[in-house]
């Protein structure tokens, strides 16, 4: 094993174990807190895949934004009525079927895809230049549509605020 494989397994274990805590913890606070480490682990794996910009985006948006919202939400709801909010197992059978289908799909994709494997050191420096150029040329339409999606979300948020 070289250094990068060891680092990969560290991040992979971090991601999987903390994801496990998110699912299995009975205390919603610890679930939310563990999700923080899941997102961070995923960011580390992106770095190992040389997707530096995606890794930073993962940190900026998921860890720095969405997790704050989640933790605020948890803080708003727990202990309000002095009742510990815990997670329960509901509808075990349908859940098992859905999980089985999804994991079968994932495994089949994993096996059937021809993964392009490159030596990690030989890959070029950064992806952000290409992302920038492609956003303004080939993928201009999705880029502008993204702004409209954001606009709609913003209007929704403003609408919610007005009601309160």
């Amino acid at each position: 094993m070289n250094y990068y494989e060891i680092i990969f397994y560290v991040f992979a274990v971090l991601t999987v174990v903390s994801a496990g805590v998110v699912v299995f913890s009975r205390n919603i606070i610890y679930s939310a807190f563990a999700l923080l480490f899941t997102f961070t682990g995923v960011a580390g794996i992106y770095v190992l895949l040389n997707a530096d910009f995606i890794a930073i985006t993962q940190l900026l948006i998921y860890v720095g934004g969405i997790m704050i919202l989640l933790i605020f939400g948890v803080m708003l709801t727990t202990n309000v009525t002095n009742v510990e909010i815990t997670t329960q197992t509901l509808k075990a059978l349908p859940a098992t079927i859905v999980v089985a289908i999804v994991s079968a799909l994932l495994v089949s994709t994993m096996v059937s895809t021809k993964w392009a494997v490159k030596d990690p050191i030989s890959v070029e420096s950064t992806t952000i230049n290409q992302i920038g150029e492609l956003l303004l040329t080939k993928y201009l339409l999705p880029f502008e549509i993204a702004s409209i999606v954001l606009l709609i979300a913003m209007m929704g948020a403003a609408f919610l605020a007005r009601k309160n």
Partner: protein
Amino acid sequence: MLNNYIPILILMLFAIAFAIVCVFLSKFIGPKNPNPVKLSTYESGMEPVGTARQRFSVKYYMAAMLFILFDIEIVFLYPWAVAYRKFIPNTVYYALIEMSVFIAILLVGYIYMIRKGALNWD
């Protein structure tokens, strides 16, 4: 170059080690005589009333929500800003207009938000 990230990883390990050592050092060195009054919640010398974990203003939640939306917008601006100079001789005005349209659409949402008072804190 992935090798550039190795020093960051080492620094992170150093920082984690430093934090752990500091926290546990005081656990071992400092005195330990807890009593119920010392361990009670501080409330300016009064008996604590109820729990601290009560409902708080939804405004904070709103701020976090709006933050995510603008954060995503800003993330789109970085690749554009990096690539901007590559368009300089011929197509630079296209690049400028494309981004201006993106910002203008979001500005509409921003103005709507201010009009609806989503950002009023008083």
